[in-house]
């Protein structure tokens, strides 16, 4: 084989890989709502993570404009009841809310994937113990669990992430469990076994890569749920504590002023609603795009 054919092969491969991703994007773009949600979420993340580098007003410092000031050029969204810049608080609060959502999602994915994959792969007692445990966890009212756990463990951001993840991994575990059962029966998995691969190798190199699309879908939906949970517990004062802003505790702060300064409640409330909605639409869209039965549509 000479060098030129080698290059040709590589070029072809790159094209092939890119076209696979293109197919996914193409199918996603056919679903208008999901595509708009994706673009919107990318925009929100850019604003929230890069915005504070540009908008250098402190989210906790008191401003000269005083409390409950109307919007102006210095304070595009006005100031809150203590005289802090609302725009800055929205940016920092969004940052924390989204990071908590993402981190909780990643942690939940980790737990759910390990438990689901082990239950599906090893079967027998492992399966019985892990899946019955999963079902038992699902039977506990989510909110009750989160509140009790946070009361006992404290409300540091790390704890909030861990507790939200612990309350949200069960759906993922069940999805991964079902998919593992399916892929385990494929002949290439038996072939790997016949080659002398260890169970861990078969799980990580042969089974889990096939499940990744489903994991991404559940992950997207889990972020939405995690953001909602974080907002709800912050609203109840059990989440991340002031003065650190999150959209949830901003909502709580604003409730006394709901008649005098409604904008203080509307802004974080709308932000939560729209971001959660967008994540849900994106998750649904991804699920449809990854489903081969939707090809002909």
């Amino acid at each position: 084989m000479n060098a030129s054919t080698n290059i040709n092969v590589k070029k072809k491969d790159i094209l092939k890989k890119r076209s696979r991703k293109n197919i996914l994007l193409q199918r996603l773009s056919r679903n208008k709502i999901a595509y708009v949600s994706l673009c919107f979420l990318i925009l929100v993340h850019i604003i929230v993570f890069i915005g504070p580098l540009v908008w250098k007003v402190s989210p906790t410092g008191l401003q000269d404009a005083g409390a409950l000031a109307n919007w102006s050029l210095q304070h595009p969204m006005g100031t809150d009841d203590l005289g802090r810049d609302v725009f800055s608080r929205m940016l920092y609060g969004g940052r924390i809310t989204l990071i908590v959502g993402l981190a909780a999602m990643l942690f939940a994915l980790l737990i759910g994937t390990i438990i689901g994959a082990c239950a599906g792969f090893f079967r027998g007692y492992v399966e019985t113990v892990l899946m019955r445990f999963t079902e038992a966890m699902m039977a506990i009212p989510n909110f009750f669990f989160v509140l009790v756990a946070l009361t006992v463990l404290g409300t540091s951001p790390v704890m909030v992430v861990i507790v939200i993840a612990l309350s949200g991994w069960m759906e993922i575990a069940r999805v991964v469990y079902g998919e593992t059962l399916k892929w385990k029966e494929y002949e290439f998995v038996e072939a790997a076994n016949a080659s002398g691969a260890t169970s861990i190798r078969i799980l990580t190199k042969y089974i889990i890569p096939q499940i990744i699309p489903s994991i991404i879908v559940s992950g997207t939906l889990t972020i939405a749920a995690a953001i909602l949970t974080e907002s709800a517990i912050s609203y109840l004062g059990m989440g991340i504590q002031p003065p650190t802003p999150t959209w949830g505790n901003m909502l709580q702060d604003s409730q006394q002023y709901i008649w005098t300064a409604p904008i203080l409640g509307v802004l974080p409330g709308a932000a939560i609603t729209i971001v959660v909605l967008a994540y849900n639409f994106l998750g649904d869209g991804l699920r449809d795009a990854l489903d081969p039965r939707f090809v002909k549509k």
Binding site: F188, A191, A194, G196, A197, Y206
Partner: protein, 338 residues
């Protein structure tokens, strides 16, 4: 003849089927005897063909020999060691020496691995003592099975069925095993491709000194490639002998009937087909005595009461039948004289 490389003694594989309510499961348990007391030897360097109808336990036998399924009972000696006693670690080491080629070239290759990765896995799993040049080793394997080494970076879905089957063969042979189970390696392929793969397997066997268990349901294919042939019916081996003996002078009525169904291009050579009444009985509820008696034209009361033992009718020609056909007899004649 060479010493046996693999020896199977009284191998049994039973599947338990539970019906309905698990609280009364004790009464509802059904046992499917997929492999029912099979003993056979495979000699160094030979190809043993294994034929039988669908569901007679051929593939199950192959998988049990490799311990891809755990046999219920019996012994499998590979190089004089009982591999059923091996623990996981010893078993993984054994995998280097025993490999399998699958029937379905679509399902047996990881869709997310390139061809190079699929074959390279073998070298990665069994890290050999000395560092080998993996890349050149893989390319050598690809050339050995007649694939372009350019296919190294392709994914399985980019290849045709025949090419995929070649990849499957390359994977099985990558570590230079002593024994290979070929589990219907050509039945999923086009007829034109079948012969290519068969010839490839024969060449490889000659060049590498492989010992092979070749499972198939096509008799023509088996005749071409096998040194000896075993015939299975409902979990038992009913006849086993050198290929020519099986095809020229079958001793078991079932074998004779199978052979009469092989189509021949030459009209003058066409045999009269022996058509048996009825279907294959359910393996969950096989007939007593000889399993074949419900469909056998020669069956008597003895067949109902006694399980026939393997007996040697000629040198190296074993059959399990109470009334084996003689060397000069054909079943057709026997039936017409009844």
């Amino acid at each position: 003849m060479n010493p046996p490389l693999l020896k199977i003694e009284n191998l049994k594989k039973y599947f338990v089927i539970k019906n309905g309510n698990s609280f009364v499961a004790a009464n509802n348990k059904k046992v499917v005897k997929a492999i029912d007391d099979v003993s056979l030897e495979i000699f160094q360097g030979e190809t043993l063909g294994l034929v039988g109808e669908s569901g007679c336990g051929k593939s199950t036998l192959g998988k049990n020999i490799l311990r891809l399924q755990e046999p219920t009972e019996g012994q499998v000696f590979f190089k004089d060691k009982d591999i059923l006693k091996y623990n996981n670690r010893e078993l993984r080491r054994l995998r280097k020496e025993m490999q399998i080629i699958y029937q379905d070239p679509f399902g047996s290759l990881n869709p997310r691995f390139t061809i190079g990765e699929i074959i390279g896995e073998m070298y990665e799993i069994h890290k050999t003592d000395r560092e080998i040049d993996k890349l050149s080793e893989i390319k050598k394997m690809l050339e050995l099975v007649g694939l372009d080494s350019e296919k190294y970076n392709s994914y399985p879905h980019e290849l045709s069925g025949g090419q995929r089957q070649r990849v499957g063969i390359a994977r099985a042979l990558a570590l230079n095993p002593d024994f290979v189970v070929a589990d219907e390696p050509v039945s999923a392929l086009d007829v034109s491709v079948q012969s290519q793969i068969i010839n490839l397997l024969m060449d490889l066997k000659k060049d590498l000194g492989l010992t092979m268990l070749f499972i198939a349901h096509g008799l023509n294919v088996v005749r071409h490639i096998s040194d000896r042939v075993g015939v299975m019916y409902l979990g038992r081996i009913v006849e086993i002998s050198e290929t020519d003996n099986i095809f020229d002078t079958p001793a078991h009525p079932y074998t004779a009937a199978l052979l009469s169904t092989v189509p021949d291009v030459d009209v003058s050579l066409r045999k009269e087909r022996i058509v048996f009444k009825g279907e294959v009985p359910s393996p969950a509820n096989p007939p007593s005595g000889c399993h074949f008696r419900t469909r056998c034209p020669l069956a008597t009361e003895k067949c109902q009461l006694e399980v026939p033992k393997m007996q040697e009718v000629r040198n190296g020609h074993y059959v399990s039948c109470h009334f084996p056909l003689g060397a000069d007899q054909l079943l057709k004649d026997v039936v017409s004289n009844l």
